[in-house]
């Protein structure tokens, strides 16, 4: 990536390699033919390795939000109870999606910059032992915090005969999430985060239990029907016309993931986020998240008081070609967020830190 090109340090979409970009321009083919079956079959094999599952995976032609909606509509019936930790914009949306499907939500809340504690989760489960599903956002993109007890929470769900659903949209690939080992029934991620493909695809692992349940239950959505999608995926097809160029790109991005190795990629995300946190702290800035729950894929940083958020981000973009995200809700205007995802490397980190430092100095001088 040339220094003349903009550096996309958003919490998704993220930078995409030349090689993945070029893959999109491969010819249009019949999605009911061998060419597509080979392509999607290869994607499925690699996606299983990514989720560390031997059960089912599907790729939906939609954003991650569509994937989360699928995870709700295939499990929740009106009156079903779900336990949902709520600690930011995306976990809050997830709770609302469950309610739209007719579910009753037990919200386990935490203040922004934190996650609910495992003790809070245990208390919620004790109080509502007949819950149908746990819906857990692993990494709250809006505040830059990550839940530290995914495995324990999923174990609790399974012990109560509930489904364990994990929204790992902004984390999978930057974190290792062994789906089968942790007993996750549905895990959702997006193409445009740690996998470093363009936006437009949702990747889901789907346990055999969920496929069976959804097949009997018959969800009201055809487009996001997970058992149907899984049945088609098993023969290398999608039930509806796939976003072909994005499948080409995803395939190439997954090739890059496994050429590097999943463990190496996860470790790199860890190192790079440490560099970002220590870099901003050495400028006197404070991470917005509490230390023990800091995300390694979204680095949220509190502004020095009086900093104009829009002007800061515009300056970073126009004068340094570095694009970062703003804050959400109560964090709006008070926090900027640096994506630490996908292709993230030392040069990206240094260029970002330099741009932040120079811009803050300029702001302080005026």
């Amino acid at each position: 990536m040339s220094d003349l090109q903009k550096l996309i340090m958003l919490p998704g979409p993220t930078n995409v390699s030349e090689r993945v970009m070029k893959a999109m321009t491969q010819p249009i083919i019949n999605h009911r033919g061998d060419g597509f079956r080979n392509l999607y079959g290869g994607i499925i094999d690699k996606t299983k390795r990514l989720f560390q599952t031997e059960q089912n995976v599907v790729v939906l032609s939609s954003s991650g939000t569509g994937g989360v909606e699928a995870a709700v509509w295939n499990l929740m019936r009106p009156g079903d109870l779900a336990i949902v930790p709520v600690f930011g914009e995306f976990s809050s949306r997830l709770a609302e999606t469950v309610e739209l499907a007719g579910g009753t939500v037990v919200r386990v809340e935490a203040e922004l910059g934190m996650t609910p504690s495992l003790e809070q989760m245990e208390a919620a489960v004790r109080e509502h032992p007949k819950f149908k599903a746990l819906y857990l956002v692993h990494n709250e993109t809006s505040t830059g915090v990550a839940v530290q007890y995914v495995q324990e929470a999923c174990r609790m769900a399974k012990e109560h005969g509930a489904f364990a659903v994990v929204d790992a949209i902004s984390s999978l690939g930057g974190y290792s999430i062994p789906v089968d080992k942790w007993g996750i029934d549905v895990c959702v991620t997006g193409s445009q985060k740690c996998i470093a493909a363009p936006p437009g695809l949702a990747l889901l692992s789907v346990s055999n239990d969920v496929v069976k349940y959804a097949k009997e239950f018959q969800p009201k959505t055809r487009y996001f029907d997970l058992s149907r999608n899984a049945e088609y995926a098993a023969k290398g097809e999608t039930p509806f016309t796939p976003s072909l160029p994005l499948f080409y790109a995803l395939n190439e991005a997954l090739n890059e993931v496994f050429e590097e190795g999943l463990e190496n990629r996860v470790a790199r995300h860890g190192r790079m986020s440490e560099s970002l946190y220590s870099g901003v702290q050495s400028m006197g800035l404070k991470p917005a998240a509490a230390k023990e729950v800091r995300s390694r894929t979204v680095v949220a940083v509190s502004y020095p008081s009086g900093t104009d958020d829009l002007l800061f981000r515009r300056t970073l973009d126009k004068e340094h070609g570095v694009v970062v995200g703003g804050g959400f809700g109560p964090f709006s205007g008070k926090v900027f967020r640096i994506g630490c995802m996908g292709l993230i490397n030392e040069r990206f980190v240094q260029r970002t830190l330099d741009a932040v430092s120079v811009t803050l100095e300029k702001f302080a001088a005026t």
Copy 2:
């Protein structure tokens, strides 16, 4: 397009120009920034011209099926009545989608290769005057027939205070469908048909009435919420992360549409389908559709008895590089379908007819 490249004569996806393909490789940008707002704003202006509407349009990151699902979930409440002409696979699916949303469906049926008559539609409306919506597939991709009375049917719906919804997935751009003039509340099309962009986007016109209705009604789907999508579209944004490369491609494909001119494009689809019909007939083949309802975008052709469908299509593909579609349901194995969409021109038509002719002669000789 070089003769060495495969000619995609499927009823979608279709051939995509180099220029549109290249557009996909433009840089990843922030979908909450000016760059994307300019891109989507331009797409919206052109999409309004395509639908001939001054009301709302939205682009959804999903296949056309997702767009149809949106058109159902934003209007139908449990117990609502819908009138649905059913005359092939896609109109049948549409009726089922309405039922999944809790609607009651009055099916107005016709045998394959025909459409229900306008008289049948009038009778259905007389018998069920309190219907909530008419869901009309304009062009039944599975059989190659097109409804000839879209305007009249929509007028009937409006006269009864019902919503008029038209699935024009495989027709808009090959046919002129003046949405405002005909009183269509929701019209759905796909990126990968007559617009000649890659697959992955659904384009919808949404009347002001539907935006207002859906806003009060609050559909149960967030991803496909039309009022929310329309509100965001009005400021050049999407509520959720858009399939950015496909938006770049769509923008360029729409530029091509209006450089040619919509009227010219529609006329070209008409001329090319006439050449295809007369070409296959001159070989002694019969179109599968009755003459008065033949589609100008999907040319369905009955095989001479005894022709092996899979072998025929494989020979066409392997020996001539021409890819056509097979039949659906009762037409399966008995019909092949030629897409007459998007970039379709004299050379494509001739190459296809030559390949069909040579292959049939070869089959007859053995």
